[in-house]
């Protein structure tokens, strides 16, 4: 085998896309991504992996400590804590994902419309954003819950309204900058429609920024939703949810079983830390691209 053949072989062996992406994430980023993947897989496979039915009470296991049968003991009703933790990521993660999806879509649409139209439209959108910024985010969620009643829909609505202005502000300023660049003028001269230019040219160029912004907002959304569930206003019992488990776990802890609160609290913190690390890495790459 000649040297060039060996080089070719090495080139074909190298994974074409994933390897550079992983390298750019750095060791900490890879650990964070692996942690998130593991949590997602565990909760998706919870029906198979969980040792017990997460909703089945067992009086003999009520407030029991760790044992070979129940590795993390039982909660106040004797439900298996480990099984509930495995199931619990579903609501804890799907709610924030929905919030980020909605607020990113609405915020980006608003921002690009404002940046493109300029003038009065831009002024109205900017004032609207200013008013929304004047109120702390969690208050939106609590007010929405007051109107719609406790539960996930109210919280998702409220937090979507709270997160939209952050997306819109970041995207709007980037879109304003991008609008000045020659490629937009070139497309315009070619007779492309405004909507066509925004969707085909502007949006793809803003995508790295939008993704970086969404990932860093996701960490906050996980914290906010879990906190509202902890207050008893979000996810409702008997659903296994990490935020709710910290709440019921606090009660169990005063009665001598701290594992439920510690497990759920630790998992929330780990997931948020992992999301933050990823957001940080992706944001840095976005900064290097500019």
């Amino acid at each position: 085998m000649t040297a060039t053949d060996a080089l070719k072989a090495r080139r074909t062996l190298r994974l074409p896309r994933t390897a550079p992406a992983l390298r750019r994430l750095g060791p900490l980023g890879v650990v964070a991504a692996a942690l998130l993947a593991a949590v997602t897989l565990t909760t998706l496979l919870a029906p198979v992996l969980a040792p017990y039915d997460p909703d089945r009470p067992d009086l003999f296991n009520a407030l029991a400590g760790a044992s070979p049968e129940h590795l993390l003991g039982g909660d106040a009703l004797g439900r298996d804590v480990l099984s509930r933790l495995m199931w619990g990521a579903r609501t804890t993660l799907s709610g924030p994902l929905l919030i980020i999806f909605l607020s990113t879509t609405i915020g980006t649409t608003l921002a690009i419309t404002a940046a493109w139209a300029g003038g009065k439209v831009d002024a109205v959108v900017s004032r609207l954003l200013d008013v929304l910024f004047a109120v702390p985010g969690i208050v939106f969620a609590l007010v929405a819950v007051a109107v719609l009643g406790p539960g996930v829909p109210g919280v998702v609505l409220g937090l979507t309204i709270a997160y939209t202005p952050y997306v819109a502000r970041v995207v709007r300023s980037a879109a304003l900058r991008e609008r000045q660049l020659p490629y937009i003028a070139a497309a315009w001269v070619q007779g492309r429609s405004a909507v066509g230019i925004c969707v085909r040219h502007l949006l793809p160029n803003l995508r790295p920024l939008i993704i970086a912004q969404s990932v860093s907002a996701l960490g906050f959304a996980v914290i906010d939703l879990a906190a509202i569930s902890f207050l008893g206003l979000g996810v409702q019992p008997p659903t296994a949810d990490w935020g709710l488990m910290v709440k019921s776990g606090l009660d169990s802890a005063t009665r001598g079983q701290p594992l439920e609160a510690l497990g759920a609290g630790l998992l929330i913190a780990l997931v948020v830390a992992a999301v933050n690390v990823l957001g940080d890495r992706i944001g840095r790459q976005e900064g290097e691209l500019r």
């Binding site: 004047a134 702390p136 969690i138 007010v143 109107v147 906190a227 207050l231 802890a253 609160a261 830390a273």
Partner: protein, 309 residues
């Protein structure tokens, strides 16, 4: 002066919009205002007529809103349906608890955040690495999880602090508020430490610092007069914004420690559908938030005259 007037006008707009939304929300509730005014009772036609009369539900919406706003401006937020008490009386005592908690947390945030950030900024190497890692960790742990951890370790485990309740006398109250204040402040202190570190680092690399050093001034003097003074501007801004966000954070912390403040009143009112209380608390929180932001802006202008040009 025009700046102040413009800010005050903007503030008034935000408050009017907020109060309108807060009042209008009542009518978005499924079943309308009657649904929660009646509560769980089914209500005879006479009772319904009496309630419509009492709350003037037959007047046009705008008339009722203006009447409510007029009362609210005079501190009358109506009567709580659950407590059968004036809402303003309910708010009064609880505002003190929340204000004390926020003030205590602010002191902790400024003391810990500025000290840790300055240390990390001035001492690259191990001190910096440890502080930065701690700050990242503190930022990832949600407030309520920190609270629960502190309860489990310091209150239940070691017994250094009381678990729940308000406490007796000023010192007792302070002792009872210590864990909640630490809980409320950890995330913000970490954030402030990061900002302080970054801005100390930035100043250290500036030319005027270089110049001061080359003139042979003592390092202590350079740090105090040239680095820290200039680095303080972003720190003050962030501190102010942080205090505003503590108002929202206190809602969660009060519920962890069962403190009887505005936040726990708010959550209870939402669960019991006590709408007069919900409206009042939202309005008070938004007002406080907007006012704190205004004060922060004014302080920044005073610190950095370049801003008002």
């Amino acid at each position: 002066m025009t700046f102040l007037l413009r800010r005050l006008a903007g503030l008034a707009v935000v408050l009017v919009v907020a109060s309108f939304l807060v009042y209008g929300l009542l009518y978005l509730v499924p079943g309308g205002p009657m649904a929660f005014l009646l509560g769980n009772r089914s209500g005879t036609p006479e009772q319904i007529a009496a309630i419509r009369e009492q709350y003037r539900l037959d007047d046009p919406f705008l008339v009722r809103y203006l009447a409510w706003l007029g009362d609210a401006l005079q501190g009358d937020f109506g009567t709580s349906l659950v407590y059968r008490q004036d809402v303003s009386a309910l708010l009064g005592a609880r505002s003190t608890t929340t204000a004390l908690l926020v003030a205590y947390a602010t002191v902790v945030i400024v003391a810990v955040g500025v000290a840790a950030g300055t240390l990390a900024g001035l001492r690259p190497g191990r001190a910096d690495a440890v502080i930065s890692a701690l700050a990242s960790a503190a930022l990832a742990v949600p407030t309520f999880v920190i609270g629960v951890l502190l309860v489990i370790v310091l209150a239940l485990g070691l017994g250094w602090f009381p678990v729940f309740g308000p406490g007796e006398g000023f010192l007792g109250r302070l002792h009872h508020l210590t864990l909640p204040a630490i809980t409320l402040s950890l995330g913000s202190a970490a954030f402030l430490a990061r900002i302080t570190r970054a801005s100390v680092r930035e100043e250290l690399g500036r030319e005027h610092v270089e110049t001061a050093r080359s003139r042979g001034l003592a390092e202590r003097h350079v740090v105090r007069r040239h680095v820290l003074r200039n680095a303080s501007i972003p720190v003050v801004t962030v501190t102010g914004l942080t205090v505003a966000s503590l108002l929202a954070g206190s809602v969660v912390v009060e519920n962890v420690f069962a403190l009887d403040g505005l936040g726990s009143l708010f959550v209870r009112a939402i669960l019991q559908r006590d709408f007069a209380v919900v409206q009042a608390v939202v309005l008070v929180l938004v007002t406080a938030f907007v006012l704190v932001n205004l004060v922060v802006d004014l302080c920044c202008k005073a610190l950095d005259p370049r801003l008002s040009r």
